[in-house]
Amino acid sequence: MAALRIDLQEGFDSDVVAIRVDGKEVYRKSGVTTMLQISLADSVEVDAGDATASVEVEVVSRDARDRVSVDPPAFVAFTLRPDGGIRHQVSKEPFRYM
């Protein structure tokens, strides 16, 4: 089983966020807030199959969602834009924060 690490990066402020991988909810939290000192709100690692996986993030508190298809192992990052939209990035290397 290959790993998927999903990062919630910038723009989150006491939000309710849900993450689904291939339709199955793997994460749901309230109070999700970006820590300004690292530009990261939260991160979760899930086991995904070897096939292409669909990763969806829903910011329930703002009625915003985004979906991206990735080939595990992979690193996916979601950022909440000031206009309320969501931007994603996919990488084969971990996103770095400090």
């Binding site: 690490r5 990062d7 820590m35 300004l36 000192q37 690292i38 530009s39 990261l40 939260d42 991160s43 690692e45 690193f75 971990p94 996103f95 770095r96 924060y97 400090m98």
Partner: protein, 693 residues
């Protein structure tokens, strides 16, 4: 003396310490703008001709940039001059400290952003108008630093303040302290499971970069910015068991570890910082470092994680240096380059900054371009902050991360920098109060050493010698003002570490400002005791929680307590005054309709105390009317107060007072046994003397 403006004219001569002025120096100070150094009005002393000899090359003059600090009282000025030496920013800044007795307290800060700098053969003169964290009538500043050769000691800087129209204000003579603008004690610890060596140094010439090749450590990186990071000594090893069974750190574990292992940690602002070298954070190997300290006095600690950083190759060493410096930058309250707008007040985002505070991988032209151009430095805006920020915006434990200039006038109740008074003033209260419940503090003043100290016993705020600040849930800070100020005769008593402390209880719920705790929420309270030697002894910071009403009854009773007249009655501990009749009626209603409610004990207390006293009124036709004590009624009211179960009891000091008043009433009706029993229950056994409670 205007102790609220350290630049004021009444400070002239006071802060000059032991310096003895010569007439030449006085003339130098009084001569007008810019050309003062060239036109002395004194007769030069003849100098004998030099004997002939070989011509010597001219000696270079000392640079003047660095840190200077005045001595004396009531204010000291720590001055930072930034006009020459490495990467000068052309600024002057400073911090003021108030000296009161044996206590030193931070007062405020200044910065002169764009001063005029005049350099002559004899002086460097820096002039401009400052920005201050306090109000001053003397905002203009002139800094005069004599030129000296490098073989001579660094001369002091003389700082004079002026009004906008040129009237002279305070003068500070500030001896030179250091070529560094600030000094921070830097302690590092290492977790036992870190698998790679902690960072030591990196040669910036190992890989392409934007600046000169040199060997950099964390300390030297900051030294290039003008900040001295003083290594606190050897590394301690933090056991890996503190990171929990998941073998990864979360922020709470990091904070707990800091409190345990950072030998210099205190919950107060200090120029001290801790950096932990650890293996991994719960947020995964992508997290290379974090400034985790965002509780209490923040920004005192940070951590770096070698799961992502570790290694000995040049790129790894480069990244380690970058991350170690970057996290400490957050402790200095620096935000990321692309997030300056999140600061309070907001700054300008600089995503293209070649700075320690950027992420190389977010650089617009790409990570490789960043490293090729990076000179291992802060950008100019960040240099202004680390060298010249107002103290509370930068000091570790100062303002929270991201919060800028702290302009609120709460500095008077800040922790002192130093307290050699030998006294400790503590305030305490119930853990929480019901909405409407009288807020009563227990006050205790004691000596901290065996040598006896003379103190005055007037710790109650009514006497004006102890001040109380209350921060409301919304952040507003108010000074408690008693309704009536009591003038007292001078009195001193001796206390030492083994004698009884001076104690009292104070109702601070109502004063000249009305009700101070008029909404549910979390309040902070702090007090300053003004000692006989001038020391200002700052108390602990007390958190007071006012609970939300839990029922309609709670709300009704709170409404009956929170009227202006009721507040006055609580302050006076009862009164017969007709002008407070509605307040008395409200407390009567509490006793009638809500007799079993916990707050009814306070209605009984003030009714019982008032009934037991002689009450004099002057009628409209100017006749003195004396109401005699109603001892039976006093006993009837006070007995349930002193016998109340602990959950509904008043504080200990108020209980003692109630017992003594009850004993007086019992004695007055002839029940000597009951009076003696009441007195026996008090903590401090005194003679039962009528009217002497």
């Amino acid at each position: 003396m205007n102790r609220t403006d350290p630049n004021g004219a009444d400070m002239v001569g006071i802060s000059a310490g032991q310096h003895e002025w010569t007439v030449e120096e006085v003339v130098q100070m009084r001569i007008g703008e810019a050309t003062a150094a060239e036109t002395p009005t004194v007769t030069p002393i003849p100098v004998p001709e030099k004997p002939p000899g070989p011509a010597l090359p001219p000696l270079p003059k000392r640079t003047v940039s660095g840190r200077y600090r005045s001595n004396g009282a009531p204010f000291q000025l720590e001055l930072r001059v930034d006009v020459d030496r490495t990467h000068p920013l052309g600024k002057v800044s400073g911090d003021y400290y108030q000296i009161a007795g044996a206590t030193v307290t931070y007062f405020g800060s200044l910065i002169v952003d764009a001063p005029t700098i005049t350099v002559t053969a004899t002086n460097v003169v820096i002039e401009g108008t400052g920005k201050y964290t306090f109000t001053t009538s003397y905002p203009k500043i002139r800094v005069t630093i004599p030129r000296a050769f490098i073989i001579q000691p660094a001369p002091p800087a003389t700082v004079q303040f002026f009004t906008l129209t040129g009237a002279a204000g305070a003068v500070y003579v500030c001896p030179f302290v250091s070529s560094m603008f600030r000094t921070v004690l830097y302690e590092r610890d290492l977790v036992s499971d870190v698998t790679t060596p902690p960072f030591s140094s990196y040669n910036t010439g190992s890989l392409p970069s934007g600046g000169p090749a040199r060997v950099l450590k964390v300390e030297s990186a900051y030294a290039e910015a003008g900040i001295e990071m003083q290594d606190a000594g050897t590394w301690d090893t933090v056991p890996m068991t503190e990171e929990g069974p998941d073998a990864a750190w979360d922020n709470a574990e990091l904070h707990a570890s800091m409190v345990k292992h950072f030998s210099m940690w205190k919950d107060e602002p200090q120029w001290k910082v801790w950096e932990l070298v650890a293996q991994k954070h719960v947020l995964g190997p992508g997290l290379l470092g974090i400034m985790f300290d965002q509780q209490g006095c923040q920004r005192q600690g940070c951590a770096v994680f070698h799961a992502g950083l570790g290694g000995a190759t040049p790129d790894k060493l480069r990244l380690q240096l970058f991350c170690y410096v970057h996290e400490l930058g957050h402790c200095f309250n620096l935000m990321h380059s692309w997030q300056k707008s999140f600061a309070t007040p907001p700054g300008t985002n600089r995503p293209s900054a070649l700075s320690w505070m950027n992420y190389p991988w977010l650089y617009p032209a790409g990570e490789a371009s960043f490293w090729n151009a990076f000179a291992f430095a802060f950008d100019d805006g960040e240099l202004v902050h680390v060298r010249h920020a107002f103290r509370n915006n930068i000091i570790m434990g100062g303002n929270p991360f991201g919060i800028g200039a702290g302009m609120q006038d709460s500095r008077a109740f800040a922790d002192p920098i130093a307290d050699e008074s030998g006294l400790k003033f503590e305030i305490a209260a119930h853990k929480s109060f019901a909405y409407g419940e009288p807020i009563v503090l227990e006050l205790e003043l004691k000596a901290t050493d065996m040598r006896a100290k003379g103190v005055h016993p007037y710790v109650h705020p009514n006497f004006g010698l102890t001040k109380f600040a209350i921060q409301k849930p919304g952040g507003q800070v108010l000074l408690y003002e008693p309704v009536i100020e009591h003038c007292v005769a001078a009195k001193a008593i001796r206390v030492d570490a083994i004698s009884e402390p001076v104690t009292d209880s104070a109702y601070i719920g109502f004063g000249k400002g009305g009700f101070y705790f008029d909404q549910p929420g979390l309040y902070s309270v702090r007090a300053i005791y003004n000692a006989l030697d001038g020391s200002q002894v700052v108390s602990n910071l007390l958190k007071v929680r006012v609970r939300h009403p839990a029922s309609a009854t709670d709300e009704d009773v709170a409404d009956l307590f929170l009227g202006e007249e009721q507040g006055m009655l609580l302050y006076l501990l009862g009164s017969d005054s007709e002008s407070l009749k509605r307040g008395n009626d409200a407390f009567d209603l509490v006793l009638d309709k809500y007799a079993k409610h916990p707050l009814a004990v306070y209605a009984r207390l003030l009714k019982g105390i008032n009934a037991g006293r002689v009450f004099k009124t002057v009628s409209v036709d100017r006749k003195l009317e004396v109401r005699k004590p109603k001892h039976d009624h006093s006993i009837q009211m006070l007995k349930p107060v002193v016998d109340a179960p602990e959950a509904m009891a008043v504080d200990r000091i108020t209980l003692d007072m109630a017992l003594r008043r009850l004993a007086l009433a019992q004695d007055a009706v002839g029940d000597k046994a009951a009076a003696a029993a009441s007195m026996d229950r008090t903590r401090r056994k005194t003679e039962l003397t009528a009217g002497k409670m």
